[in-house]
C-alpha cells in the first residue's frame, strides 16, 4: 500500500506556511513585484515616444523657417533642445546621442518656396532604436502640407491648396533599414551579463555561508578584498566568453554592424563586468540563503530590463522613469555597446557613460567591502 497521510501533509504545510509568513522578503516579493510590474508596464512604457530632443541647423532666418520650427514643436514629437551653428556640430550632437533628430533648414529655403521649386528639409534620425523614431518620422509626413498654411498669403495663397510647397527628406542614420535586432542584440549583451554575473557571484558567496564553509574561510588569514577578488576573478572569464559568443552571434547570425569604437567598448565591458560581479558580491553580504540571493538579484535585473532602454525606447519613458534609468548601470552599458557597434562612437561621445560605469564599480566595491563581515557577529 502506498503511504499517504493527510496529517503528515498538513504538518508540512503548516510548517512551510509559518516559515513563509516569518520571512519579510516574502512580503517584499509578494507585493513589490506586482506593484513594480504594474507601474512599469502600465505607465513607463510609452509606445510612441514624444518630446524627443532635436537639434536644428537653420541656415536662413526667415518667416518660413520660424513657422517650420513652430510646426515641429506643435507636433509634440520634437523638443528643440539644441541650435547647431554648423553641420559639424549638428553631426556631433546626433552621433553622441544627445539628440535623436538633427534637422537642417537650407539657406535658400524661402526663396525656393517662393519660386515653387520644392526645397528639401533634411531630417536625420538616430534610428539605433527604430521604435523610438517611428512615430516622429510618421508625423513628419504631415509637415509639408501644413507648416506654412498661414504664411502663404496673397500671391502665394494659390500655392496653399496645391501640392506641398516643400519636401521633408528623412535620413535614418546608424540603422537605415530600421532593423530591430540591430538594437536588441547588443542590448541583450547587457542583460545576459547582468543576469548571469550578478546571480552567479551572489550565489557562490551565499553558498559558502549556507554550507558552513564561510566559517572556515573566516578563520583563515584571508582578507575581505582577497576573498572578493579570488571569488570574482573566474567570473570575469565567464563574462568575457559570454561577450564573445554574443558578439559573434550578433555579427554572423543577425548581421549587426560593427562600426568601431573598440576602445570604448572594451573599457565599458571591463567596467560593467567587474561592477556586476561586485554587485553580486554585495548582494551576498546581505542574503542569508541562496534563495534570498536569487530573489535580490531578480530585484536588480527586472528594472534593468525594463528601464535601461533594452525593452522600450529610453526616451519613450516618462521623465521619472528616465531618472531611475540613469541610475541603472545597464543603461550606460547599453549606450556604450550600441554607440560602439552601431554608431562607431569615440571616447569623446562615450565618456559620460564610461564615467557612470566607473562610478558604479567604485561605489559597489566600496559598499561590498564595508558590508563584508570578517567575523560571524
Amino acid at each position: 500500500m502506498m503511504g499517504f497521510s493527510g496529517a503528515r501533509v498538513m504538518a508540512v504545510l503548516v510548517k512551510e506556511f509559518k516559515q513563509l509568513a516569518r520571512d519579510r522578503l516574502t512580503y517584499a516579493m509578494m507585493l513589490a513585484i506586482p506593484v513594480v510590474q504594474l507601474v512599469l508596464f502600465g505607465y513607463a512604457i510609452n509606445a510612441e515616444p514624444r518630446h524627443l530632443p532635436t537639434a536644428l541647423l537653420v541656415q536662413e532666418d526667415s518667416r518660413y523657417a520660424r513657422s517650420m520650427v513652430a510646426a515641429l514643436e506643435n507636433s509634440r514629437f520634437f523638443d528643440l533642445t539644441h541650435q547647431a551653428r554648423s553641420p559639424a556640430e549638428l553631426d556631433r550632437l546626433i552621433r553622441s546621442g544627445e539628440v535623436q533628430f538633427a534637422i537642417t533648414i537650407p539657406g535658400d529655403f524661402s526663396r525656393r518656396v517662393a519660386r515653387g521649386d520644392k526645397p528639401q528639409i533634411l531630417v536625420e534620425a538616430d534610428a539605433t532604436d527604430p521604435s523610438a523614431t517611428g512615430g516622429a518620422v510618421a508625423a513628419l509626413a504631415a509637415l509639408p502640407s501644413q507648416a506654412l498654411v498661414h504664411d502663404l498669403t496673397g500671391a502665394m495663397a494659390a500655392r496653399a491648396g496645391a501640392p506641398a510647397p516643400f519636401e521633408v527628406v528623412v535620413h535614418r542614420r546608424y540603422n537605415p533599414e530600421a532593423v530591430t535586432s540591430y538594437n536588441i542584440v547588443p542590448g541583450l549583451l547587457g542583460i545576459i551579463l547582468s543576469m548571469t554575473l550578478v546571480m552567479l557571484t551572489a550565489l557562490s558567496v551565499t553558498r559558502e555561508t549556507e554550507r558552513g564553509t564561510m566559517e572556515t574561510l573566516l578563520a583563515t588569514p584571508l582578507e575581505p578584498f582577497e576573498v572578493m577578488t579570488g571569488k570574482l576573478a573566474p567570473y570575469v572569464g565567464v563574462g568575457l566568453v559570454q561577450t564573445i559568443v554574443v558578439l559573434l552571434l550578433a555579427r554572423f547570425l543577425f548581421g549587426v554592424p560593427m562600426e568601431g569604437g573598440w576602445i570604448g567598448l572594451i573599457l565599458g565591458l571591463s567596467l560593467f563586468i567587474v561592477g556586476s560581479l561586485a554587485l553580486g558580491f554585495l548582494i551576498s553580504t546581505a542574503a542569508r540563503s541562496q534563495l534570498q540571493a536569487m530573489q535580490m538579484s531578480f530585484f536588480y535585473i527586472l528594472p534593468s530590463m525594463l528601464l535601461s532602454g533594452f525593452m522600450f525606447p529610453f526616451r519613450g519613458m516618462p521623465v521619472w522613469a528616465q531618472w531611475l534609468g540613469e541610475i541603472i548601470p545597464v543603461t550606460h552599458f547599453l549606450r556604450v555597446v550600441r554607440g560602439s557597434l552601431l554608431k562607431g562612437q569615440g571616447l569623446i561621445d562615450q565618456w559620460p557613460s564610461l564615467a557612470a560605469l566607473t562610478a558604479f564599480v567604485l561605489v559597489v566595491t566600496a559598499l561590498a567591502m564595508i558590508r563584508y563581515r570578517r567575523t560571524l557577529d
Binding site: 558552513g212 566559517e215 572556515t216 578563520a219 583563515t220 570578517r374 567575523t375
Partner: protein, 305 residues
C-alpha cells in the same frame, strides 16, 4: 609554563540572550583541554571568540600571546579551527581541500606538505575522491589534517567526533595526543565522557558560565557530590522511584546498577533508606564525571532562573 589561552571576563550576547557570561579561562601550552557542557551552553561561541570569529561584547585576553580583540589576524595565522559541522568543500577532492588550506596559509613546499598529510591520513590512494563522498570519520580526519597543515600552535576543535564510530574516534584522539606531544595546545569541545577523561584537563560550561575547571579528578573532588550505588536485581528500575525525592539530585541507571547522587548527605541517606534492603546491595562510590556534569547542569539551571 607560558599560557596559550588567557582570557578574562568574556561576555557575548545575541539579542537579549546572554550566551557567554564572565568567562575566565587559562590554558597552558601543550595541554589538551576538554570543553564540556550541554547543547547551547556557549561552547562554540567561546571557541569562536578565541580565534577572532566573534567579537566579545566585553572582556579581554590573549591567545598565543596576541590580543584577541586587536590581533585576530595574528591569531588566525597560528591557530587551527575545526568547525562543528564539516566545513570543507564537499565538491572539491581530498587533495584539493588540503591544497586550498595550504594556499590560504601561504605555505611553502605545498605539494610536499599535502603529500605528507595524505600519507599520514592514509588517503594517498583516494586523493582524487570528492570530500563529500567520505564517511563521517574520514571527513573529520581530513578536516583535522586541513586545520593543522599550517602547523598551528593552538588547535580549537568543536565537537570533532560527534557521530563518529568508536574506532575512528580512537584514531582521531591518538592524533590529537600526538599533536599535543609536539607542543600544540588543544581545546576540544565534546559530549563524550570517555573523551573528557582523555583530556589533560576539563572546563565545564553551562548556560554560558564556567562551572568547573581542572583535571577530571579535581572536578569530581570539587563537586561536593555524594553518590550511592545500588546493585542487585532490577536495581536500575529504582531510578524512576528515587528521582525527585528530596535530597536526590540525580538517579541514573548505569547498566544494571543505579547511581543516586546529591550534595546533602543526610537527605540522600534518608531518601535511600527505604530501599536499603534485600535484594539490593548499596555502597558509597566516587561519583563519575557524568554524575558531576548532570549535577552541575541542574545547579546552573537553578542559578539561571
Amino acid at each position: 609554563m607560558s599560557l596559550a589561552v588567557d582570557v578574562t571576563g568574556l561576555n557575548k550576547s545575541f539579542g537579549d540572550k546572554h550566551v557567554v557570561q564572565d568567562l575566565t579561562i587559562q590554558l597552558e601550552q601543550g595541554r589538551i583541554c576538554g570543553f564540556l557542557g550541554p547543547n547551547g551552553s556557549g561552547k562554540t561561541t567561546t571557541l569562536r571568540m578565541l580565534c577572532g570569529l566573534l567579537t566579545p561584547d566585553s572582556g579581554s585576553g590573549t591567545a598565543l600571546g596576541f590580543d584577541i580583540l586587536k590581533q585576530a589576524d595574528q591569531i588566525k595565522r597560528r591557530t587551527g579551527y575545526m568547525t562543528q559541522r564539516f566545513s570543507l568543500y564537499e565538491d572539491l577532492t581530498i587533495a584539493e581541500n588540503l591544497e586550498f588550506a595550504a594556499r590560504v596559509h601561504e605555505l611553502d613546499r605545498r605539494r610536499e606538505r599535502v603529500d605528507v598529510a595524505l600519507t599520514r591520513l592514509g588517503l594517498e590512494a583516494r586523493r582524487g575522491q570528492l570530500a563529500g563522498t567520505l564517511s563521517g570519520g574520514w571527513k573529520q580526519r581530513l578536516a583535522l589534517a586541513a586545520a593543522t597543515l599550517h602547523e598551528p600552535k593552538l588547535l580549537l576543535l568543536d565537537e570533532p567526533t560527534a557521530g563518529v564510530d568508536p574506532k575512528a574516534r580512537r584514531a582521531f584522539w591518538d592524533e590529537i595526543h600526538a599533536l599535543a606531544a609536539e607542543g600544540l595546545t588543544v581545546m576540544v569541545s565534546t559530549h563524550y565522557m570517555d573523551e573528557a577523561e582523555r583530556c589533560h584537563e576539563i572546563a565545564y560550561i553551562s548556560y554560558g558560565r564556567l562551572m568547573a575547571r581542572g583535571t577530571a579528578q579535581q572536578v569530581i573532588d570539587g563537586s561536593g557530590l555524594i553518590t550511592f550505588r545500588a546493585e542487585g536485581p532490577d536495581a536500575d528500575r529504582l531510578a524512576r522511584e528515587l528521582s525527585g525525592k528530596p535530597g536526590v539530585e540525580t538517579a541514573a541507571a548505569f547498566g544494571t546498577a543505579l547511581h543516586v547522587s546529591g550534595t546533602d548527605r543526610a537527605a540522600l541517606e534518608a531518601a535511600v533508606k527505604p530501599y536499603r534492603r534485600e535484594p539490593w546491595r548499596w555502597r558509597e562510590v566516587e561519583p563519575t564525571l557524568e554524575d558531576v556534569f548532570i549535577h552541575l547542569m541542574g545547579a546552573s539551571q537553578d542559578n539561571f532562573q
